[in-house]
């Protein structure tokens, strides 16, 4: 046969080659069509939610940067565990601490404590005074003021030790004081500091009693000093986002808010170590217990009370001022709930029968008839089942901390209610599925850190250890100190100013009063009295 007879055969073969070579390309086409359909569906879902949820997509207002305008000298009264953390927030850590955390970071690259501290902004201040009734702590405070391993390099001054807080307040070179004593000293020192014209950062709970709350409020208002209460949650980005969502009415009418504390370790129940150097020579016990209602002589019991003061009403208010106050303030930040009309609480010492008189299981109810709202608080120090906090609306529930947040720390998730009115149509059309969150906020989900201990996780879940600014991890305590110092400089109101601090103090005092008396306590805002 000639060449011409082969032609059709060759064409056939080429066609077969082409078909076999491209045989699976249509599958790729089917894939792409389905991918496109899936992406459009996801986009429609997202657009539908995001257009509602995130009207303001802005990050929290950029942190003011006015640290350079005026150098401030600060003093610290009470340089214990919390005091040292606050002073670190201002940029001063002991040599022992910087050595330990830099070594930790070297051994475990996931440990970012040192990096977070060193990348803090230099707040243009000096730690010039330290007052503590325990010599060891006072010396540590001075050591921190001199340590050159800090953001901003060499410190400009070295702190002076003051035996009594009044001497520190009398010093002319101090502009502002951080008060991190036990709660029974807060009001006296805050009032005296205000009278001396010193600006005050006071650790929470603001006061031990209701009367003290009134006195501190009046003193701060009268003197016009800048007062910041130590609720660093005010700086947490997640709370700002939560506020945007709640304020936009996306949860619908909110009638119930549940907040919880769940801890299960001796440390979490304030059974802290007794310092081996703690004795009658190194501790000024009489000064320590001066404002407390019940006095005891120095001895073994006093040592226990000195290092574990949170376990006694003589010095603090137990779960109320210590842990409820954090969650209350976060809810107040998100929802502006203010002081309740009624409070009642119950509880007991059910697990830690170690001589303490503050309950380790404590539940409190707060009624806001004007806002059609009940706030429930439930705390256990013998179970760390992470119940988290829930803002329960008719249309959606916001779950914060605990098991929410897509598995990451301190996020929150909003899930629509299957019987929601606002989302009725979207629920019906399947755009919203009540079994899955319609919005999750988990900042830093790509950032991995080595927060591992149960207690750090407790605080991290509540956003109290770290927050994120533009995706970068920051210690909210640092931001809170910065907010206070900047407000001193420009005369603005800090985020946890005396007005919201007063809400916290009165609310805590109402619940404590109810626990003592066994009856419902009412707030009379006109006469500023508890009934």
């Amino acid at each position: 046969m000639g060449d011409t007879s082969k032609e059709p055969n060759k064409t056939n073969l080429e066609r077969r080659d082409l078909i076999k070579g491209l045989a699976t390309v249509p599958v790729a086409g089917v894939f792409l069509v389905n991918l496109w359909r899936k992406m459009s569906r996801d986009k429609a879902k997202k657009a539908n939610l995001l257009s509602d949820l995130i009207k303001k997509k802005s990050a929290p207002a950029a942190v003011k940067s006015i640290s350079n305008s005026r150098h401030l000298n600060i003093g610290v009264i009470g340089y214990g565990g919390r005091g040292s953390h606050l002073v670190r927030g201002a940029g001063f850590a002991t040599k022992g601490w910087t050595d330990t955390v830099s070594e930790n970071a070297r051994k475990n690259k996931l440990d970012k404590q040192f990096e977070t501290f060193m990348s803090q902004e230099d707040l243009n201040c000096s730690l010039v005074g330290v007052c503590d009734v325990f010599d060891v702590n006072a010396e540590l405070g001075i050591n921190a003021s001199e340590n050159d391993i800090r953001p901003g390099g060499n410190p400009k001054a070295s702190a002076t030790r003051y035996r009594h807080y009044k001497d520190l307040l009398a010093s002319d070179d101090i502009d502002a004081v951080i008060i991190a004593t036990p709660d029974h000293w807060h009001s006296r020192i805050s009032i005296d500091a205000a009278k001396a014209g010193k600006h005050v950062y006071c650790e929470k709970g603001m006061t031990r009693t209701f009367d003290e709350a009134i006195d501190v409020y009046d003193a701060v208002k009268k003197t016009g000093i800048t007062f910041q209460l130590g609720h660093q949650n005010r700086q947490v980005e997640a709370n700002e986002k939560a506020r945007e969502i709640v304020q936009q009415g996306l949860l619908g009418p909110i009638n119930l808010v549940e907040i919880t504390t769940n801890r299960n370790s001796p440390w979490g129940a304030w059974v802290w170590g007794i310092h081996p150097k703690g004795n009658e020579q190194t501790i000024d016990w009489e000064t320590f217990q001066e404002p407390s209602p019940n006095k005891i002589p120095f001895g073994e019991e006093a040592l226990k009370r000195f290092f574990r003061w949170r376990c006694w009403y003589d010095y603090g208010t137990g779960l109320s001022g210590d842990l409820f106050s954090h969650d209350f303030d976060a809810i107040n930040q998100i929802m502006d709930i203010g002081i309740p009309k009624y409070a009642s609480s119950t509880g007991g010492v059910y697990f830690y029968k170690d001589g303490r008189d503050v309950p380790d299981v404590w539940n409190a109810t707060f009624e806001y008839p004007n806002k059609d709202l009940t706030l429930l608080y439930s705390a256990s120090l013998s179970s760390n089942n992470p119940r988290g906090n829930r803002i329960m609306g008719h249309d959606a529930t916001m779950q914060m901390g605990g098991q929410s947040g897509g598995g990451s720390v301190h996020g929150f998730a909003v899930t629509a209610d299957s019987e929601s009115t606002q989302y009725k149509d979207r629920l019906k059309s399947g755009i919203i599925n009540p079994n899955y969150p319609i919005y999750t906020y988990s900042p830093g989900s790509k950032e991995i850190d080595g927060v591992t201990s149960a207690t750090s996780r407790y605080f991290a879940n509540k956003g109290l250890l770290y927050t994120y600014r533009a995706g970068k991890r920051v210690d909210p305590t640092h931001l809170h100190i910065k907010d206070w110092l900047d407000s001193i400089r420009d005369g603005s109101m800090p985020k946890c100013n005396i007005d919201v601090a007063f809400h916290e103090a009165v609310t805590c005092a109402m619940a404590t009063e109810s626990y003592f008396t066994g009856r419902r306590v009412e707030w009379d805002p006109v006469n500023r009295k508890l009934i």
Partner: protein, 164 residues
């Protein structure tokens, strides 16, 4: 390239079975890759942090080092996507199946369901020593040793011996 036994080539059921296996694995890889590429929050960190057994130390060092983590993320996102395209379209499928096998075997080795190893992330099924990653790795081994892309797939255009 080695080629299929003539018996398999001539047995359409065996040949098509192998092609379908290759294409389905390709589809799975491609979507796994694209799903990660289009999710700005995806990172291999969560998987690595939950790693157990002999590679858990390596996994933690990867997470601790931002550069290594970024490399790991990109290797996974693009590796899965490219392997997916390769298997689906039958383009360089032998290399695709080898790379795919390496990827999926590493997922197995970083978190094997061995006795006594507990994972934070709940499983979607029940596994004892053998899990779907191991099976998919073996399936890719089959795809590798029974190459079909030079008969059905774009590789056909680069291979003369398989024509006719």
């Amino acid at each position: 390239m080695s080629s299929l036994d003539i018996s398999i080539k001539e047995n359409k059921y065996q040949l098509y079975g192998l092609v379908v296996l290759r294409v389905l694995i390709g589809w799975h890889f491609l979507y796994e890759g694209i799903a990660k590429l289009i999710n700005p929050y995806w990172s291999s960190a969560a998987y690595l942090l939950d790693s157990k057994w002999i590679f858990s130390g390596l996994a933690k060092s990867i997470v601790a080092n931002p550069t290594l983590l970024t490399i790991s993320d990109y290797t996974n996102m693009w590796g899965l996507t490219l392997v997916g395209c390769s298997l689906l379209l039958g383009l360089f499928s032998r290399y695709g199946s080898l790379v795919g096998m390496a990827l999926v075997l590493s997922y197995y080795l970083f978190a094997p369901p061995l006795l006594g190893l507990e994972y934070g992330k709940p499983n979607e099924g029940s596994y004892l020593i053998v899990n779907k990653n191991l099976i998919e790795a073996c399936a890719l081994w089959v795809v590798y040793v029974f190459p079909t892309s030079n008969i059905i797939g774009l590789d056909r255009f680069f291979s003369n011996q398989e024509k006719h």
